[in-house]
Amino acid sequence: MTATDPGTKTEFPSERLTKVSTAMSIDARQGTPPKRSSPWAVFKEMPIFVKLSAVWLILVFGGAIYAKIDQVIFNGALPLQDPNFQTNNFDPSTGEFGTGDPIESPSWSHWLGTDAIARDTFARIVHGGWVSLIVASVAAAFGIIVGGFLGSLVGFIRGRTETIVMSIIDVILAFPALILLLAMVSIFKVRDLFIIAMVIGFLSIPAYTRVSRANSLAISNREFVLAARAIGTKPATILRREIIPNVLPTVLSYAMVAAAFVIVVEGSLSFLGLSVQLPTSTWGNMINQARRDIDLNLLQVVAPSLALVFTVLSLNQVGDWLQKRSAHRASAL
């Protein structure tokens, strides 16, 4: 870069500005930007425990999507039992009561037995994954879009805006999330899955904002951003082209960990009977409903609990690994 004479304003071609900026953001040591990896390549990179976790997540969420497709598109024609069918209750189609039993032990007909009103526990666990999936996805999307953007923005522009935004975020963070959710659900009588997911998503904004702000602060001081500033690139352009793309991988990998937390929150709400409307199955409400009969059939409590535990554990494992991976790649910038 050539120094200009004092007092002389030089018009630098904007085309070249972009090139300089981009050139500064590649791996300076290796001289090449990190390559994008295919999902399969990423999977192969994973340690064995993380691989198992990823497989579990695919099974759970794949199963949930399958169950939903079965319910909505095929009207229950695919091979999976109706999660709400009480096998001992009156069946208008036959005009008779079913012959099933409540709190049955596992059998070929009911792999994980039946619950207190003779519904298939395996089917309810599979369907319960849908609620977790939706809540986790919506909350993550909400957090990434709103929280991620806010954090990137204030970490970059700093000043009074940062103070105001972070103060608001601190206020939201200070609310005990579960209590706030309980109050909202009780007062507004909200039982819609999407709305509950949105509320949980709203409460996860602060965490995303903090993560993205921390990254944004670090990236804002990197050479390629300083260079872009120095050559007069508009802040909005720097934010869009330099900050957000570099903050995003970290936020995305954090989303996995945050999703685990969100699933636990939804599970707690369900356990308290304040999540989605019954008879929709969720792991939380399954645990809640089965605890009365815990002495008679422990499996009815253990099975949904394990589904919840393994899913949360898997999200944490995969999320942590992705965070480390993205941190490693970021250090290569």
Partner: protein, 608 residues
């Protein structure tokens, strides 16, 4: 405040007290029972006969027999009793007193009257009580030689002095209003005269329990109501020692107690009792099984089931069980369309598979299906009503409901053919959640009902039905609820079926008679007339006929649907005796242990 407003306020206060009592425990709570009965030996004989005729033993009805025993009680020892909840307070006139409380307070406070095994009421602190011809004046005589725990003597004036305190009491004011009591006067050293503003042949029932039947030392209570809560003084068999909130309440033997058993042994037998609130049902049962506590109190069928299983597997426990009148199910808000139409109520009730609901509640083999406000063991039970109750018939239910749905003039304003909307709401208790989903499946299967299941916490659930903001109409449509009790029917029916709103009262020429406790808002002038008539006579047959006619009308109009009667139990270590064989001072066999309420002055520990 004018008289009408004051009456309304009293009624409201009483309603809250009743609500809190009925719902203070878990959702399977047996509820608060106001009790009442008729007096007179001749009538009791008739009652006994009628019990034998009208009562029936159904499958699952395994009440512990209430019977006298020849066993000689031993004195001494101490026990710990696990209760389902901490009690609200130690003041019978002020603090709501549900089933756990009715185990604790009678150890400190004697009652004026007590329930007997044959459904009557006889004197406890009162030696006798009698009424004038129209049941508006009741005169009772206290037994002599009774002293309070502070050494002061119990006189008729003590009881009269209790009245002003009770008139101000948070729970007793409502009970005073409901009973019709307007004055208490000491007309002799030991003679008390109760004056009522209206006929009430069942008045003695009000004297058999909190909030107005327990005797407390009135001077201390009036001086400092909060201090009294810390140091309660009664005439009861035990003296208050200490209370560690949510942990333990301890009472010790009253060495100066007046009561004697039939062998002349001074009561109580036990030296000390520790009451421990253990809200978790499983933990409470485990405490009993491990001998940490010697008694377990429960109002839950699932716990009874688990305790039975433990006993059958060899645990050294005994189950004192009781099948009460209190019956679960739900109610329709008959002031809210489409539930103002009997076709809807009847159709939905016919689609209520009671056996499946009871199974979901964990009550199979324990709880009897309800058909009326009285269990088959009750003297008021009617086979005619049981036969009239719309039993499960899915096709008939669909046909009945279809008739409404296809009616172009249907009351909910929807187009003919459209399904009705039902918000089926229960508190978020696992057993109730299971039960409501059984109903939901059959209602939904009809294709005529769009069911929305909701769960709100207990207080929200109650407020939702109370509807204080809309003239006590409420916003509920189909609402989980429990009704009835084991006291005299008038104590709960008269309020539950009185005009629900001022408009309804005015339309029926009953201005000023409004009951917020009419939760379903069902009102029928003939029914209410029968209820009022039943309090103007103490003839059992006449009263029975009146209550039967009321129940028949309810079976026809179905403002309430039923699941099963509430089974309650006291699980005890096998050396705890005397819970089903206790007697009144005159030797009459006591009522036993309805609602898991033990009479601990006559419990004793068998020698090892």
């Amino acid at each position: 405040m004018n008289k009408r407003s004051f009456t309304k306020l009293l009624a409201l206060l009483f309603s809250f007290a009743m609500i809190a009592a009925a719902c203070g425990g878990d959702s399977s709570d047996g509820g608060e029972d106001t009790t009442d009965t008729t007096a007179g030996d001749a009538e009791e004989t008739e009652t006994e006969d009628t019990v034998a005729e009208s009562g029936t033993e159904a499958e699952g009805d395994v009440d512990t027999e209430v019977e006298a025993t020849d066993a000689v009680a031993t004195q001494g020892g101490e026990i710990a009793i696990g209760l389902e909840a901490e009690i609200v307070g130690m003041r019978p006139w002020e603090d709501t007193c549900g089933s756990p409380c009715m185990n604790v307070l009678p150890t400190i406070y004697d009652k004026l009257m007590e329930a007997t095994a044959d459904g009557g009421y006889e004197g406890w602190l009162l030696e006798d009580i009698s009424a004038n011809e129209d049941f508006t004046v009741w005169v009772g005589t206290l037994r002599s030689g009774v002293t309070f725990h502070d050494g002061s003597e119990l006189t008729a004036q003590s009881v009269a002095d209790m009245f002003p305190v009770q008139q101000e009491g948070a729970t007793s004011a409502g009970a005073i209003s409901a009973s019709g009591l307007i004055g208490v006067e000491a007309t002799g050293d030991l003679e008390i005269t109760y004056t009522l503003g209206q006929a009430n042949s069942a008045f003695p029932a009000y004297l058999s329990r909190a909030p107005i039947g327990m005797v407390f030392e009135p001077v201390s209570a009036a001086a400092d109501i909060d201090a009294f809560n810390e140091n309660p003084i009664g005439t009861g068999p035990f003296v208050f020692v200490s209370r560690d909130l949510d942990n333990e309440t301890i009472v010790e033997r009253n060495a100066d107690y007046w009561g004697m058993d039939s062998n002349g042994t001074q009561l109580p037998y036990l030296d000390k009792i520790s009451f421990r609130p253990i809200p978790d049902e499983g933990t409470r049962l485990d405490a009993l099984l491990s001998d940490t506590t010697q008694v377990m109190h429960t109002l839950r069928q699932g716990t009874i089931r688990d305790a039975r299983a433990a006993r059958d597997e060899g645990a050294d426990i005994f189950m004192f069980e009781f099948q009460g009148n209190n019956v679960g199910g739900g109610m329709f808000n008959v002031l809210v369309p489409p539930y103002d139409d009997v076709r809807v109520r009847r159709g939905l009730t016919q689609m209520n598979s009671q056996d499946n609901v009871i199974e979901a509640l964990g009550g199979t083999g324990i709880s009897l299906p309800g058909t009326q406000w009285f269990s088959p063991d009750s003297p008021w039970y009617s086979e005619k009503v049981a036969a009239a109750w719309p039993e499960f018939d899915f096709d008939a239910g669909v046909a009945t409901l279809q008739d409404y749905v296809d009616d172009p003039e249907r009351s909910d304003g929807k187009a003919a053919g459209e399904p009705i909307d039902a918000e089926l709401s229960c508190p978020p208790d696992p057993t109730l959640i299971a039960a409501m989903q059984v109903l939901e499946q059959t209602w939904t299967a009809s294709g005529l009902v769009t069911v929305e299941l909701t769960n709100y916490d207990q207080q929200t659930h109650i407020n939702y039905a109370l509807g204080a903001e809309n003239g006590f109409v409420g916003d509920h449509t189909t609402h989980c609820w429990r009704v009835s009790g084991d006291d005299d029917p008038s104590t709960f029916l008269n309020q539950a079926l009185a005009p629900p709103t001022a408009e309804v009262a005015a339309a029926n020429g009953l201005d000023g008679i409004v009951s917020p406790l009419n939760w379903s808002n069902y009102f029928d002038a003939e029914v209410f007339g029968s209820l009022v008539a039943a309090t103007a006579t103490d003839d059992f047959d006449e009263r029975y006929a009146l209550y039967e006619s009321v129940m028949l009308k309810l079976a026809e109009d179905v403002p309430i649907w039923f699941s099963g009667h509430t089974a309650t139990a006291l699980g005890v270590r096998s050396d705890v005796q005397g819970l089903s064989s206790w007697e009144l001072p005159n030797g009459t066999l006591g009522v036993g242990l309805p609602n898991a309420e033990g009479r601990w002055s006559m419990a004793w520990l068998a020698a090892e």
